[in-house]
């Protein structure tokens, strides 16, 4: 296990490094001069030049990359060009929106799809299995932003139960904040629930036909106990890996959903930063999101090995 952890952690570091280079290069070729974008079209050439020097844009790209990374390693995320405040200060309140949103969506995905998937597998071929099957097909076909609009139409415009958008902030209390995250989290989770439900159903059906389950039943275990102790425990291994990967999609989907629900999160932030040519913010936010995805995948891998002792055997 320890050699696996070391190997996997080194791989994670290499991937993060590669991601930082790639992001830096991608942002480097963005058209448009940031200094000019900040000062406006009518700015004096001398003023533009002065700002370029101040932002360090007159220096060669490799040097700027090294400075950026060196700063990150020391916990300095740099200073936003358009807001003129440290990026860390801008990120913190937006993280407090995006992370709870993604975690809420993740919790919805895990509970709903494991419950629905097991249910469909247990009632295999019956009406409820078909109904869940049709539901997952619809879930796959409905784009999350349209689902968001429909949810607003139903729960905000018609029923007036939940806010149509915006975020009151955590200082307004936990419940109003969670309330304004409920619809976006569900819109975000729907597709992932559809995917994971189908996956869970297949995994449970697969394992339910194995000999060891028949043995367990022959020993006198009730069907429910056999499902929980033998089928589900096995099925949870691939389900955990898929969940880890789905977190990436939830974070990426948050970019769109935050725009639908006017949530002041990281997604909306990076989107505005691209428009403002605030490159340091774009670089940092994209790297932070990518790092988050990679770290979650890392833990999902580790968790899968903890659940399944067979994976510990070195090949």
């Amino acid at each position: 296990m320890s050699s696996f952890l070391v190997r996997r952690a080194l791989g994670l570091l290499a991937a993060l490094l590669a991601a930082s280079v790639l992001i830096f290069l991608a942002v480097e070729v963005l058209p448009g001069d940031p200094a000019r974008a900040i000062l406006g079209i009518n700015a004096e050439p001398a003023a533009v030049e002065a700002l370029q020097r101040q932002l360090g844009l007159d220096q060669p790209a490799p040097l700027r990359y090294l400075r950026w990374i060196a700063g990150l390693l020391q916990g300095d995320l740099g200073t936003s060009w358009s807001y003129r405040v440290p990026v860390a200060e801008l990120l913190a309140p937006r993280f407090a929106v995006t992370l709870p949103l993604a975690v809420l969506a993740m919790a919805l995905t895990a509970t709903a799809s494991i419950a629905l998937g097991v249910w469909a597998a247990l009632r295999h071929g019956r009406a409820i299995d078909r109904a869940i099957g049709i539901g997952t097909q619809l879930g796959l076909a409905i784009p999350n932003f349209w689902l968001g609009l429909l949810l607003i139409l139903l729960f905000s415009v018609e029923l007036n139960w939940l806010p149509a958008g915006g975020f009151p902030g955590w200082e307004a209390g936990a419940w109003p904040a969670v309330q304004s995250l409920l619809l976006p989290a569900f819109a975000l989770a729907a597709v992932q629930i559809a995917i994971l439900t189908r996956f869970t159903r297949t995994a449970v059906l697969d394992y339910a036909q194995q000999d060891f389950v028949r043995t367990a039943r022959a020993k006198g275990l009730t069907p429910a106990a056999a499902i929980v102790r033998h089928v589900l425990r096995n099925a949870l291994v691939p389900i955990t890996s898929i969940l880890g990967l789905q977190f990436a999609f939830l974070l990426a989907g948050a970019v769109i959903i935050e725009n639908v629900f006017f949530l002041p999160g990281l997604g909306r932030f990076v989107f505005q930063a691209i428009a403002n040519r605030d490159l340091i913010v774009v670089e940092t936010v994209v790297l932070v999101l990518a790092a988050l995805v990679m770290v979650v995948t890392f833990f999902a891998d580790v968790a899968a090995r903890a659940i399944d002792p067979r994976l510990k055997v070195e090949p």
Binding site: G133, Q137, L140, V157, F199, F271
Partner: protein
């Protein structure tokens, strides 16, 4: 990743009878929207961009079947014209991603060794990267528009196709008939074209249909964010963005473009599931 897990899953109901059912229903839905797209080339009830300020935000009626938008433009005409752009962006981006990705995958499998390792590691890495972020970054780089949306979605598709063709082709390269062809002195290129590629066609077709659905959704999402198709060209995603403002007063604006989008994606997914069963008989007997 979505695409791969989907393609790897057995269908919801896997009886032979319903398999052709999936193909029929999916094919019918897709054919309807293709027909709508083709129809929009020669005829729409009104010009999709024709502004009529006197009949703004009207609900469905005999004059405007699906109502009008904030500029008094006919929603039905715009939904029809949107079908054309959705299908075109989906087709072009998947075709581009397929040709480049499958090319890389086939080359990696044929070359083996370090080049294979390098190519598949970089594909893995691209995979770990949030796809929509890549698309947004790319749309930012090449500028917003239909061409950049196609390019962004195609780039997202390259590792998808590279990955599945490489792993499947690598298996084929160890099979006897490929070994035999090698023994007869056939070049790697010839073997790839004569023996490997034909055996992968089913897999590639199934993946293409799954990627097509994802591409159509991606185009709509990018256009919703203002990074995809630009006015005066019509996009369902853009129409939904414009509908957001009038959600309370003109909900029909948010319904019809999304419905068209959902029906098209559902049709493509069902068609893909049907094709999957047809090309992968191992999954058919699963009860």
């Amino acid at each position: 990743m979505t695409v791969l897990t989907l393609a790897g899953l057995p269908p919801v109901a896997a009886h032979t009878r319903t398999v052709s059912g999936l193909l029929w229903v999916g094919g019918l839905l897709v054919a309807t929207l293709v027909a709508a797209a083709l129809l929009s080339l020669i005829w729409t009830p009104y010009a999709p961009a024709a502004i009529d300020v006197l009949s703004r935000l009207e609900g469905p009626s005999a004059v405007h079947w699906l109502g009008t938008d904030a500029f008094g433009r006919d929603v039905l005409s715009r939904v029809l014209a949107g079908a054309r752009n959705a299908l075109w962006v989906g087709f072009a981006s998947v075709a581009l991603g397929l040709v480049l990705g499958a090319g890389i995958g086939l080359a990696a499998a044929a070359l083996g060794g370090w080049s294979e390792e390098g190519l598949s590691r970089s594909a893995d890495f691209l995979f770990a990267f949030p796809a929509v972020l890549t698309a947004i970054l790319l749309a930012g780089i090449v500028g917003a528009g239909m061409a950049s949306a196609i390019l962004a979605i195609a780039i997202f598709n390259i590792p998808v196709f590279a990955r599945i063709t490489r792993s499947a082709a690598a298996v084929l390269w160890r099979r006897e008939f490929v070994r035999a062809a090698q023994g007869m002195g056939k070049s790697r290129v010839r073997i790839t074209l004569d023996h490997v590629l034909p055996n992968l066609s089913g897999l590639i077709v199934v993946q293409a249909s799954a990627s097509f659905a994802v591409a159509i959704l991606a185009e709509a999402a990018l256009s919703y964010l203002g990074l995809g198709i630009q006015p005066p060209d019509v996009s369902w995603g853009r129409m939904l963005y414009e509908a957001r403002t009038y959600l309370a007063t003109a909900p029909h604006l948010a319904v019809f473009p999304g419905l068209a989008l959902g029906v098209l994606v559902l049709g493509v997914n069902l068609l893909g599931d049907g094709l999957h069963d047809r090309f992968d008989p191992r999954l058919r007997p699963l009860r």
